[in-house]
Symmetry: C2
Subunit: 94 residues, 2 copies
Amino acid sequence: MSEKPSEGVIYVGSKPTSSYVLAIVTQLSQGSKRVIVKARGRSITRAVDAVELTKRFTSGKVEVKDIKIGSDKVGEPGKERTVSTIEIVLEARE
Amino acid sequence: MSEKPSEGVIYVGSKPTSSYVLAIVTQLSQGSKRVIVKARGRSITRAVDAVELTKRFTSGKVEVKDIKIGSDKVGEPGKERTVSTIEIVLEARE
């Protein structure tokens, strides 16, 4: 009864950018039509790098459909701080 | 014969984020309806931070209308490298 995921989320952290490129490409090659790349704080640049590398690596077969930015509160209560977030929606071209 | 600029571009570099928030708010308060915030490489996170701070600072009177990412070649010929870029289009709500 399980169906193949048609949407995957990749959280970009502090690993090398190539790890995330591989994760995105793997998701898309396993049948996901749509992958959402999410990052917070300093990893935002790495998320953009990963998406740009993926676009080049797949020769334009992956398309940026939407980009959203926002803010999240992180940290213990009383020590909260606000970090910026990004969400990049990628879709595989048919 | 000169007309007021209706669109301004802010390049985010390595200054403190607050400098760019001030630049954005100043542009908007001087009659620009639209401000484009651009950054490359590591400054991408700072650009997102500046926009998020501006949104909070102006209590939602500034709206993100569009976000684009891309790549630029930088450096001397023969030593070129590719950096990621971001462009965030902001508009003042009436």
